[in-house]
Symmetry: C2
Subunit: 707 residues, 2 copies
């Protein structure tokens, strides 16, 4: 008797089979019928296609097209780096807002790219076939090489599209995503930063919020605004509680399919280390920013980004140490195990046995949970070195070299030169032929660097690496030699000329010979640490990543067997659609109605940062209807990376953009909780008020067709 | 049949009944016979008395008398605050060492006091009787009032002794400790700071160590060196592996008697918050110290202290997230529960039933584990406010106002004035009559304050309080009003005159009228927040502390019933004796031999801080025998607060002072692990070398009678 368990979804719990509003769905597997049944809507495939083609990925954020001339709305915090790059201390757009009087004044975001997902095709069989029969690192290399070939075949050297093989269900599926790519993205409007960040770090991840966290960019092609006949309709009407909405965006990463053993590693090792060292960097940057006006300007964007990451980690720590949340998670795992192991499985009261040859039976001898359990002690041991020296663990947030831009460029140059000596299929995947144009675009972009900031980042990173790996670790000896973190950072930051894009371009184009001949200390330093850092990465990939990937693939197969297509994949930074209702929250520690208004903003203001109203916004107070809705909350299933996601109605009208979620919502990384999960939205109504009544941006109001 | 379970100690595990070298024993319940049997020694009561009377408590540290003229050895890090207080930027003793040529040059440590435990008497019945029949806050108030009366009766207003009722076994016993007290403590020698801190924060909590973390103070009476005929004999011979040693000191606090529910609160709430915010303060202080030579001087001592606390917390987090450690801890609890609940108890294979009327039977209806379990959700909710605004939670390390000295003085002044209006028995316990002389001594001591440092501390504290309690918390509104943390800190720190000891004395002596009339902004600020902060403390004491204390007392009674006197009390910052062997370690992550030498120091040195050898020490290199032992490890059971503890042989000879322990040893807070626990000791041999060959302190070498 075959296990027909897909029928039993009523028994399932979060993280296995999805219920109600749960799920960050891919556009090629969206549960149209269920969503319509849950919400009382009637969307169809044509609606889905329109929403997908109106949705934009910009940097790590999401965005939505709102006019036929390439105008795109996202969050202000998503353009913060662009604003910082376009600003100087004397002409600080974060302070004044960026309000170009006409399209000609719209300014190009250095290194900014935007993408629209145009096609999805299944390449699972091809990727599987390439790695079949292999184990360990050979498995991953064969898979990565095949992925590189697929991407290269599909996109070649085209600069106006990007091809990406996306790994879904942790290896359960591989899909080729093809994007239309825009490499000329201009800033069309940003408000005063304080209008977008009112309450700052403190109100971040709480509600009520009172923030106009919105900005506009414009897609350009051939030096002209892109023609975008498919776009969302702007609807600035006052929102109504209970309205069904859909949120289209690119949520960054969830870990809902991790086993309990894997989650324990995140809880015990990954999050504590990441959070502790981030907290120290935060302290260093806060003090740095207090030292001068200039430093305050320089550190603003990095502090905001860091605090956002830190707060997210805090919410996650709370979830993983919440006994009742973890109990539910464990129950879900037990349910899954009982189903696929084919022992003691009950379906509606009756015991069912697994069929010979089924996945359930195979798993008895090749148990992925056991395999993943055995990886964890190794992952716990190797994580600090991998996180600090290589990054890319897939679970942590620690940035290599503390996010030093000069270090990152040097690493790209040195590794890029070394890797390009090999055939594409043998390179580190990020330097495969299909990815080189993106690498170059990022490398050649003009963007300012600040030696003081770079010094803080490098010093922190070197000293934390020494502290966490200990002085006697061979990599630490290689990293520091006889120098202190302070001395070494100063020598590298002061001596390097990589801040000049022409220097970077010449080194890139000169290849390995130019790199080896360079006397730039940062380049020489990166060359000198390659053996050690590459060895750490290889160790991680062989002993942690490869066995994890293989076991996860087996788990994914088992999951389809157990739950059918009621399962959605973990978020992977690619386009997803979620749905929910406009509503408030009424659980302990989180009780609020769904809306805030401008009147509430005036009430909350104290005059002292970060509770000071931005000057232009304050000056417009008399022109603004105090009852106009500013922010709202919705129950859709989102996670970091969803920032800027267009919030649309069943009629395809845009009513807001996601910009935040509550601290309790951060548990969303590990499982959806309908009673708790609330995303925070800046409404199109509030944005219209800002454009029309505060920033004199009538030309955009007109372009939006706003009433 | 009565439960005669004390016989079954072979079955017990850490945290319930002690085995082998486990236990921080009080001097009135030291297991002489067992220690002698374990170690092959023959100590007796007279030996114990000599050791007790030769042991000194100094600040939060331990120390040992080593001459008949009041000379006392402790760690250099224990005198760091004294050194900082005696130094100026121009005459920085941390840099040069403090090497007085004669006794007259020995300098008084501002506010320094030292104590010797002269008597212990049991007052359990009296304290119990006072609180009998009471519950909730009334229980704690009655108990605290009786404790205050006992202390007052025993010590009166004497300034040369101190009386302290010590709560042992979390309420299982109350003992009156009487100390001989020295309020004139002078610094007799401190090495260059780097000689004591070689490897700095990085080598801290690891081994091998290469640090001469030793210093000498001298006890004074009537302006003359105290006569101390009872003292340890100085033995500077090369130590031998396997030698039995005893360590006498005042370990700060362990939490071995906490239930698993209580530990989960520490793991999930207390440690993560304390560590995260400490890490940010660390970052702020590091950057502050980099801003100028002056700031580096000012921040050195605070950073060292903070990093020590932080590292300790890190080791504790690792213990509480170590599955095998926690499993052993849980097994110990289960063993205890089975014994005292009188159900399913097996003694050597036979089932025993509890006698009617026994504690075991009583606990069935009044279960302390259940009571403590029910307190935990409340403790989790109230902890952040209590820790940030009041301190004194007994589990956390967060210091109120970030450790601002000016704030602390203001709080003492305001609360002291308010409390002294009431009869002693109705006051907050820390302002009872018996404690006022210590309060005054600390308040009137001359010690420097640094506005820049105070500003960093206050800013950090106010901003973290706002972040963790959220903007909408009533206490936060009261704390900040319409000001930002930066504005408020600046106004208070710049405006206050409390840095002047004469001002503090006048305000103290002027009582409540003077306080209320004061226009000092820090005083006025403290007055303004009393209602809110006192309410938070009362809430904690009523809903967390009182029920915890009552349940813990029941648990303590049950523990004696189950394990007899094979149980030792949790450390409480009072004098204890532990024992072990000189030996290395050979467990994963901790493999080393028992000794390091001066030759090893020269090898490890890089020249870059903190791995630079102190100049005077380096200059003496040729005079020093490279094979001389510098540091060693022993298996005795210690915890923070044991710093400076004399390490003595069965012959009563001092062979070193405890100054560190490994990161893995930090689990000692929750349970002793004989294979892992290693204390790090600076040897008397190394100290003799430093005095004789490096710092030209022959006069002390002579006084010590060193060979």
């Amino acid at each position: 008797m075959r296990l027909i368990l897909a029928l039993t979804t009523a028994l399932t719990v979060a993280a296995t089979g999805a219920r109600a509003e749960e799920g960050m769905w891919t556009f090629d597997n969206f549960p149209i019928a269920r969503a319509n049944a849950t919400l009382g809507t009637s969307i169809d495939q044509a609606w889905l296609d329109r929403v997908r083609l109106s949705s934009v990925r910009f940097g790590g954020c999401s965005a939505g097209i709102v006019s036929d001339a390439g105008l795109v709305m996202t969050n202000n915090h998503c353009v913060a780096t662009c604003v910082a790059n376009l600003s100087t201390q004397a002409r600080n757009y974060a302070e004044t807002g960026f309000t170009p009087r006409n399209r000609e004044e719209e300014a190009k975001c250095p290194g900014g790219t935007a993408e629209i997902l145009t096609d999805i095709s299944d390449v699972t069989e091809r990727v599987r076939a390439a790695a079949a029969g292999k184990t360990g690192l050979a498995f991953n290399q064969a898979r990565d090489a095949e992925i590189g070939r697929i991407e290269q075949e599909a996109c070649g050297t085209a600069t106006d599209k990007r091809c990406q093989v996306v790994t879904l269900y942790r290896g359960g599926q591989f899909k080729l995503y093809t994007y239309k790519k825009y490499t000329d993205v201009r800033l069309a409007f940003a408000p005063e930063d304080r209008a977008a960040t009112f309450g700052g770090d403190l109100d971040n991840f709480s509600f009520p919020r009172f923030a106009i966290d919105a900005a506009f960019i414009r897609l350009y092609e051939n030096d002209a605004p892109a023609q975008t006949p498919t776009h969302f309709t702007w609807n600035a009407d006052k929102p109504v509680e209970g309205t069904p909405v859909f949120v289209a965006g690119s949520p960054g990463a969830t870990q809902r399919l991790l086993t309990m053993d894997q989650l324990a590693t995140v809880r015990d090792v990954v999050l504590p280390m990441d959070q502790l060292i981030a907290s120290e960097l935060r302290g260093r940057l806060i003090r740095f920013s207090e030292e001068s006006e200039e430093n305050a300007f320089i550190a603003m964007d990095p502090i905001v980004g860091l605090e956002n990451t830190y707060k997210r980690g805090l919410g996650r720590m709370r979830a993983l140490t919440d006994a009742s949340f973890m109990t539910r998670r464990a129950e879900a795992e037990t349910d899954f195990q009982r189903r696929v192991r084919g022992a003691d499985v009950e379906v509606r009261g009756a015991r069912v046995e697994a069929a010979p040859g089924s996945v359930a039976v195979q798993l008895r001898s090749d148990d992925p949970w056991r395999a993943l359990g055995e990886v964890q002690p190794i992952a716990r041991e190797l994580y600090p070195a991998m996180a600090l020296l290589e990054g890319g663990t897939g679970v942590g947030t620690t940035s290599v070299a503390g996010g030093s831009q000069l270090f990152a460029w040097a690493r790209t140059l040195v590794r890029g030169a070394q890797e390009r000596e090999k055939p594409s299929s043998e390179r580190l995947p990020e330097f495969g032929d299909a990815r080189l144009s993106s690498v170059q675009a990022a490398l050649f972009a003009e963007r300012p660097t600040y030696p003081g900031l770079e010094q803080v980042r490098m010093e922190w990173w070197l000293s934390k690496t020494r502290e966490w790996l200990t002085v006697d670790h061979p990599a630490v000896r290689g990293l520091l030699g006889q120098e202190s973190p302070e001395q070494l950072s100063a020598r590298l930051v002061e001596g390097t000329t990589l801040a000049d894009p022409a220097v970077r371009r010449a080194l890139w184009e000169g290849g390995l010979a130019a790199i080896q001949a360079s006397d730039d200390p940062m380049i020489q330093y990166l060359l000198s640490i390659q053996d050690e850092t590459r060895a750490i990465r290889a160790d991680w990939e062989t002993r942690v990543q490869a066995p994890t990937d293989q076991a996860s693939e087996r788990l994914a197969t088992a999951r389809f067997e157990a739950y059918g297509d009621s399962v959605y994949p973990d978020a992977t930074g690619t386009l997803r659609l979620t749905y929910g209702l406009i509503e408030g929250s009424d659980v302990p520690g989180q009780r609020f109605g769904p809306f805030t208004t401008f009147a509430g903003l005036w009430d909350r203001a104290t005059g002292a940062a970060p509770f000071d109203v931005a000057p232009k916004l304050l000056a417009a107070r008399d022109r603004i209807d105090g009852d106009a809705v500013l922010n709202m909350t919705v129950s859709s299933d989102t996670i970091g990376g969803s920032s800027g996601s267009p919030v649309v109605t069943a009629a395809g009208e845009m009513v807001g953009a996601n910009f935040d979620s509550t601290v309790l919502t951060q548990r969303n990384a590990y499982g959806y909780d309908r009673n708790v999960n609330r995303s925070v939205i800046v409404t199109t109504g509030a944005v219209t008020v800002a454009l029309r009544d505060v920033y004199d941006m009538g030309r955009l109001v007109e372009e939006l067709g706003a009433r």
